[in-house]
């Protein structure tokens, strides 16, 4: 389960874990083809049509991901969040979480570095909460779920992120013996 210790030498298990969704889909389609070939083809067609209808938006989002990743320095973010400890840091971490991109196995180590640089638990938690907002994905989200839904979900997630961060920080520091930095 430890993905961090994964070596480049790929075992079959690691490969299967990394691609569990395509593999699962393939197996399901195989079953569907045997069970009802025509319906399986219809499913494939309707999925393909849906993909084509949002293909342009996906390309645009990918373009935005490239921009954000190159133009926003992760080191600068870590420095900023690690040293400040007041309200500004919390607001800043809410914002950073929104534009942070990358799978969890990249985000967790980044936040660990920020934590070691001196960031509060509230900052770490706030980033992980607003990480669910995905500013760059809102066009895609709203095309599937509607503007009202997408906007409401994003605003609520941001609004609850800092309170949740402070709550978890308070719980972490309740018993000083077990709390603190885990190295």
């Amino acid at each position: 389960m430890k993905r961090g210790s994964q070596r480049p030498a790929l075992t079959l298990g690691a490969w299967a874990r990394a691609h569990w969704l395509p593999i699962l889909t393939g197996i399901l389609y195989l079953g569907a083809l045997l069970y009802a070939p025509q319906r399986a083809l219809r499913a494939l067609t309707s999925g393909g049509t849906l993909l084509l209808s949002v293909a342009l938006i996906i390309v645009a989002v990918i373009g935005l991901i490239g921009l954000l990743q190159v133009w926003i320095s992760k080191d600068a973010v870590a420095r900023l969040l690690g040293t400040d400890s007041g309200w500004m840091a919390l607001l800043l971490s809410a914002f950073c979480g929104m534009i942070l991109i990358g799978p969890p196995y990249l985000i967790f180590p980044l936040l660990q570095a920020i934590r070691k640089a001196g960031a509060r638990w509230a900052v770490i938690t706030t980033v992980l909460s607003t990480y669910a907002v995905k500013l760059q994905m809102i066009p895609l989200e709203s095309s599937f779920l509607g503007w009202r839904f997408s906007l409401a979900r994003s605003l609520l997630t941001v609004a609850l992120a800092i309170p949740l961060g402070l709550l978890i920080e308070a719980l972490m520091e309740k018993t000083p013996g077990t709390a603190g930095k885990s190295e």
Partner: protein, 160 residues
């Protein structure tokens, strides 16, 4: 939808032009980063949309309405959040799935809980989070974030 996509594409294109004037090098590397991300995401995207097709064709609408629909109330929100917490993947994948659930009659509250839990609660990545931040933090964060996901779902159900 295609028109909307074109507008976004033009918008991003304009930003790229501005960036190009500031630093051609960084802009090229942005394009390259985007292309790499797309190649990495492609198998997953294909799988997800294929899965959505399968869902629409084979999963009876009545089942989704029963488990995630309006009559379920809290039960639906809990199921939505639970599904999101177990499944884990990039948000690009969550939106088409969520959209098809919504179209099939799922409660907006349940769908919202599903998305928030999908992105920020990870049962699959929990062991990794534990090794990085310790058991106490990982359990606290995932547990309370799950409750927050349900709360967000419930609030959205009131707004929408």
């Amino acid at each position: 939808m295609t028109k909307l996509g074109l507008i976004y594409l033009l918008l991003i294109g304009a930003i790229y032009l501005v960036c190009w004037r500031k630093s051609p090098d960084k802009t090229v590397s942005s394009l390259r980063t985007g292309a790499t991300a797309l190649v990495k995401l492609l198998p997953l995207l294909l799988a997800i949309f294929a899965l959505v097709g399968l869902l629409q064709e084979f999963v009876p609408q009545t089942l989704i309405e029963e488990q995630l629909g309006a009559t379920g109330g809290w039960h639906s929100v809990l199921i939505g959040g639970g599904l999101g917490a177990i499944a884990m993947g990039p948000p690009v994948a969550a939106f088409p799935l969520a959209g098809s659930l919504l179209n099939a009659g799922a409660l907006p509250a349940a769908v919202a809980a599903f998305i928030v839990a999908w992105v920020s609660v990870g049962l699959i990545s929990l062991p990794f989070e534990i090794t990085i931040f310790g058991v106490r933090y990982a359990l606290l964060r995932n547990g309370l974030t799950f409750l927050t996901a349900l709360l967000i779902g419930w609030l959205i159900g009131m707004v929408i």
